[in-house]
């Protein structure tokens, strides 16, 4: 890396580039994957904050038994809105839409994704779907079905779910197109000399996720069409009074929505792999096993959906088979955790904010994953199903594992995306608060769930109050942590010091170009290493000295 390229003087970065459009249109009509990534980041975070508000209100309502701030109908709307917004607008598109769009081409040495216009169309579909969803959810009807839309309730409820379902349908298309784009990009756009098994593990994660998006998402589309037909024209598909079968709906719903859990989780695993390798100054332990386990999760994850239905009235044989299969998805997931920990072994460990967050995420995600075992075994699941235990389990996975890694990704790639550094001290304080908040918020729910507190309850028996109070206090800590980290990053964009091309000492290709990247990414065609995390000649002392020199030069040029 020559010193010259540490500053932005010799080229224009993708923010400064003039196109035929200007202002907002230069964003909304761009086909640059980086701009699309940034637009996703802004929209997704906006919707996340809306979903977070509903979470905050729900926890507040649960502070005391009986009505605390709202009535039962409103509470039911809250958890529906929270679930819908977080699942469909935030966590499913989440990491692939934001960091996938921005960094997939960079990690494989490409100028853009395979189909840039299709990529823009995905974003437009996302935006249309999202606004339709928000409009229908908040302004048109106080939808109260839960994000699962179980029939017959969703067919009968007085609240109008048609528009919301249309929104979910459109969002599904956005997801399919992104998946299609990423699969093609990984196969066709890799820089000369990079084999499939030389891609960074984040790219591997995006690739596996993209396959699930392409294969699983159409099923939710079809299911939505069937529900709409039934609601509008009285087709008897799901409604028993018309001769339909409500359990069929659950199958169709979970055939998509279980793999969707992996659409959310696998990219987060990818971020952990990249972050842990970078801050251990070491190649990921068992790279190939990691790549294959990512694929294995994608494939096995497709065959375990009915573990959500052990009490639904499906046959005992089906319950047994799905319980059996479910345990196999635990294996590649466990292998990943072991390999991350093994990567630390004999490394050179630097506890920057993304690394701290990744280590915290490994811990929290492990709790989420291990309690999945309780829910995979039939006899225990029958007790725990639809209780707070399940809420705790999947929030440990989603908040502890996935949101953690989304935020870790925001910190890790922040200098590349915006060209400046955030305040690391504040960021680390945020990570610690996040860790405490998540545990205080979700751990009491395991206990409540085991005691028998069902989920989606507006009110509860007095013996649960102590757990609810602790949990609500936890929600305040967690939300403060999230806001602290977001504000810190926001300040970093405007006030942060220039970051240079590679502030973390990372080895993947996105760090070989200036920050923020130029329009077509690479100034010279990069030459990939056979090992994407090639630290064989690394010495932390030499790296830090070079860093100091680079900082001086940047400061001189800027003054």
């Amino acid at each position: 890396m020559s010193i010259n390229s540490t500053t932005n003087k010799n080229f224009t970065n993708f923010y400064q580039v003039k196109t035929k459009h200007s202002g907002l249109l230069s964003w909304l009509l761009t086909t640059d994957h980086k701009r699309i990534g940034i637009m996703y980041l802004v929209s997704i975070l906006t919707f996340f904050l809306v979903g977070l508000t509903f979470a905050f209100l729900m926890r507040l309502e649960m502070l005391t038994p009986g009505p605390t701030i709202v009535d039962a109908q409103t509470y039911n709307s809250f958890f529906t809105l929270h679930g819908m917004i977080m699942v469909f607008l935030f966590i499913i598109p989440g990491i692939p839409a934001v960091f996938g769009n921005f960094f997939l081409p960079l990690q494989i040495g490409a100028e853009d994704v395979a189909f840039p216009r299709l990529n823009l169309m995905s974003y437009h579909l996302y935006l249309v779907g999202a606004f339709l969803a928000l409009y229908s959810l908040i302004f048109q009807t106080h939808i109260d079905t839960g994000w699962t839309f179980y029939v017959p309730y969703s067919l009968r409820t007085g609240t109008d779910v048609t528009l919301t379902l249309m929104a979910a349908f459109i969002l599904g298309f956005s997801s399919i197109l992104t998946g299609l784009n990423f699969v093609t990009t990984c196969h066709r756009m890799r820089v000369k000399g990079m084999k499939m098994f030389e891609m960074p593990l984040f790219t591997w994660a995006l690739y596996s996720t993209a396959w699930i998006q392409v294969v699983a998402t159409p099923i939710i589309g079809i299911t939505i069409v069937l529900v709409l037909l039934e609601r509008s024209f009285g087709f008897g598909i799901f409604d028993p009074t018309l001769g339909g079968d409500p359990v069929l709906y659950q199958h169709l719903f979970w055939i998509y929505s279980h793999p969707a859990v992996y659409i959310m989780a696998i990219p987060a695993f990818g971020v952990i792999s990249d972050v842990v390798a970078t801050f251990s100054r070491k190649s990921v332990f068992g790279y190939k096993v990691m790549a294959y386990s990512t694929l294995a999760i994608a494939v096995i994850g497709y065959m375990v959906w009915a573990h959500h239905m052990f009490t639904s009235g499906m046959s005992d044989t089906a319950r047994t088979v799905f319980s059996f299969l479910t345990f196999f998805v635990a294996i590649p997931t466990g292998v990943k955790v072991f390999n991350w920990v093994a990567t630390l072994w004999r490394g050179t460990i630097v506890l920057s904010s993304p690394m701290l967050m990744a280590l915290s995420a490994i811990f929290l995600f492990s709790i989420g994953g291990l309690t999945g075992l309780h829910l995979g075994a039939i006899s225990t699941d029958i007790h725990l199903h639809d209780t707070y235990f399940v809420i705790a389990h999947f929030h440990y996975v989603i908040i502890g594992g996935i949101l953690s890694m989304f935020i870790a990704g925001m910190h890790y790639w922040f200098p590349k995306m915006f060209g400046t550094m955030h305040n690391e001290k504040v960021a680390k304080t945020g990570v610690v608060m996040y860790f405490i908040g998540a545990n205080v918020l979700y751990f009491p729910m395991f206990i409540m769930g085991y005691m028998g507190m069902p989920r989606r309850y507006f009110d509860y028996l007095p013996e649960y109050q102590i757990y609810h109070v602790v949990s609500t206090v936890g929600s305040w800590i967690l939300i403060s942590a999230i806001l602290l980290m977001f504000i810190n990053l926001l300040i970093g964009i405007f006030k942060g010091k220039p970051a240079g091309p590679n502030p973390w000492g990372a080895k993947t290709l996105e760090w070989t170009m200036p920050s923020p990247p130029p329009l077509l990414n690479f100034i010279e065609t990069p030459i990939p290493n056979h090992d994407p995390y090639d630290y064989h000649d690394h010495d932390e002392r030499v790296f830090r000295e070079a860093k100091e020199k680079e900082k001086e030069i940047i400061n001189q040029e800027n003054s």
């Binding site: 920990v341 093994a342 004999r346 630097v350």
Partner: protein, 229 residues
């Protein structure tokens, strides 16, 4: 943890304990290893990393051993469940009907009540269905639930070992009063229970023999009509 409300409860709690113990052990292992490595190999102490690309023997070990352990969990969960589901002989049978937002409990003699009365030390079968949307018949103290699906009959068995009053809850979201479907399961001494059943059937004698239209509980008339179809 170990309430002896039924034999099944202790097997479920046993499975719960087994899985939890394994989970805690794994979590400790992972956490202790992480903390140890982070301290021992911190950049200031270990500035030059040792490159190490993996080890196939280790990978095989940590694929095979967890596989065996989780399959034992599957087996544990499965045997308890299948033993319970394949109960062939039972002493009493009840018909549980869910509707928005209430339960009705019908006895073999046609009586319908709002609180579920059962005898202790007998094997009981509950047939569960719904009149409208999905509900779920949940007995937390007995570690068991089964969805109430309209147009279908689900069933569960319990064998209570102790008398007492237990909660019945709805565990499948069913609308605005989903939270308000708590009812009581009263486990009585056998002679007490049979005396009670006897008194109920006397009160209802004319109706019981002909149809199920009239019952002790008010407002359940409409219910039993629905039950017919």
């Amino acid at each position: 943890m170990f309430e002896q409300t039924s034999k099944y409860v202790s097997t479920v709690d046993g499975a719960m304990l087994y899985i939890t113990a394994f989970s805690v052990l794994m979590l400790l292992l992972i956490t202790v290893a992480m903390i140890y490595f982070v301290i021992k190999y911190r950049a200031s102490k270990n500035p030059i990393p040792t490159q190490y690309h993996g080890n196939i023997v280790i990978e095989v070990i940590w694929i095979v051993i967890p596989t065996i352990i989780v399959l034992s969990m599957f087996y544990y969960g499965y045997t308890d469940f299948s033993e319970l589901r394949n109960t062939k002989e039972y002493d009493e049978e009840y018909f549980v009907t869910a509707k928005m937002w209430d339960w009705d409990f019908k006895y073999e003699n046609g009586t319908i009540t709002d609180t579920l009365y059962v005898p202790v030390n007998k094997t009981l079968k509950f047939n569960i269905t719904s009149l409208d949307v999905l509900h779920s018949f949940y007995l937390p103290a007995f570690r068991i639930k089964e969805d109430a699906v309209p147009g279908r009959d689900g069933f569960i068995f319990i064998t209570p070992l102790e008398t007492g009053v237990y909660d019945i809850a709805c565990a499948e979201y069913c609308g605005v009063n989903h939270w308000d479907m708590y009812k009581k399961l009263v486990v009585m001494e056998q002679d007490e229970y049979y005396a009670w059943v006897e008194s109920q059937s006397k009160e209802n004698k004319p109706e019981v023999t002909t149809s199920e239209e009239k019952t002790v509980e008010s407002e359940s008339t409409e219910m039993s009509e629905n039950n017919e179809n």
